[in-house]
């Protein structure tokens, strides 16, 4: 199953990319996608507690199911305004 991961702000700096194509095999939730990223970039792991996420540009939860072709975004704490 292929998804596109979007990363922002500090997360993007850690991974060195704002967009990552990921082939997930058995991944079924947003949380699974996050685990695969945190395994590859351990500096991402501390963000687990303060993370928001979105699927196809809609706010989601870590237990939200993902489908082939989805855009999965991980959002560190926001600071707009």
């Amino acid at each position: 199953m292929a998804v596109t991961v979007r990363l922002f702000a500090r997360l993007k700096e850690i991974a060195g990319a704002d967009e990552l194509p990921r082939d997930l095999g058995t991944a079924t939730t947003v949380g699974d996608v996050w685990q695969s990223l945190a395994a590859e970039w351990p500096d991402l792991a501390p963000y687990a507690a303060s993370l928001s996420c979105a699927v196809n540009a809609q706010y989601a939860r870590m237990h939200t199911a993902v489908s082939d072709g989805d855009e999965i975004a991980f959002l560190p704490p926001v600071s707009g305004g």
């Binding site: 979007r6 922002f8 702000a9 500090r10 700096e13 303060s50 993370l51 928001s52 979105a54 540009a57 809609q58 706010y59 939860r61 975004a73 959002l75 560190p76 704490p77 926001v78 600071s79 707009g80 305004g81």
Partner: protein
């Protein structure tokens, strides 16, 4: 054409947004046969040259555009649910902005001022909670991302907190 909700790399068109919001309120009021625009509140957030004792040279803003625009639409709906007839327009700028430059413009329009003030304040509190926008402070010796709120838009407590700052 100016949209009511937008992320933009261009300078914010404050005058255009004022006109757009007032026109939208007038059109809605005519349709619903209620009082038209009587109070217009513009909030502009500008880059400050100092933050918690540090000299800031610039702020770099980044957004997840489609979700940010959707969050602005959501905020406008939340405001109108509680304050019927209130119209909101929200634009947030992205890119690197120098001191004094406007990063966000929010226009709230209502028939009467109390509702317009409440909607305006609610909107900026809510933007800071749920809009996927991030700022990076550029200081003389380095830069760092500012990390503020972690809020899911469906959570009730932050929504109540935003209203408590805006409306009695």
């Amino acid at each position: 054409m100016l949209l009511p909700f937008a992320i933009t790399a261009d300078p914010l068109d404050v005058a255009g947004l004022l006109t757009l919001a007032q026109d939208r309120h007038a059109a809605q009021a005519a349709r619903d046969d209620v009082e038209g625009p009587g109070a217009v509140i513009l909030f502009v957030g500008a880059v400050r040259g100092r933050h918690q004792g540090q000299e800031v040279e610039a702020l770099t803003y980044e957004a997840y555009e489609p979700l940010a625009v959707a969050s602005f639409e959501r905020i406008a709906r939340e405001a109108a649910d509680r304050l019927p007839g209130v119209v909101l327009c929200l634009h947030h700028r992205v890119g690197t902005l120098g001191v004094g430059v406007a990063s966000i413009a929010i226009v709230a329009v209502s028939a009467h001022r109390a509702e317009a003030y409440a909607a305006s304040r609610f909107a900026i509190e809510r933007v800071k909670q749920i809009a996927p926008v991030w700022k990076r402070e550029v200081l003389r010796d380095g830069a760092s991302w500012v990390e503020g709120a972690t809020v899911h838009p469906d959570d009730a407590a932050p929504l109540d907190e935003a209203w408590s700052r805006a409306w009695r």
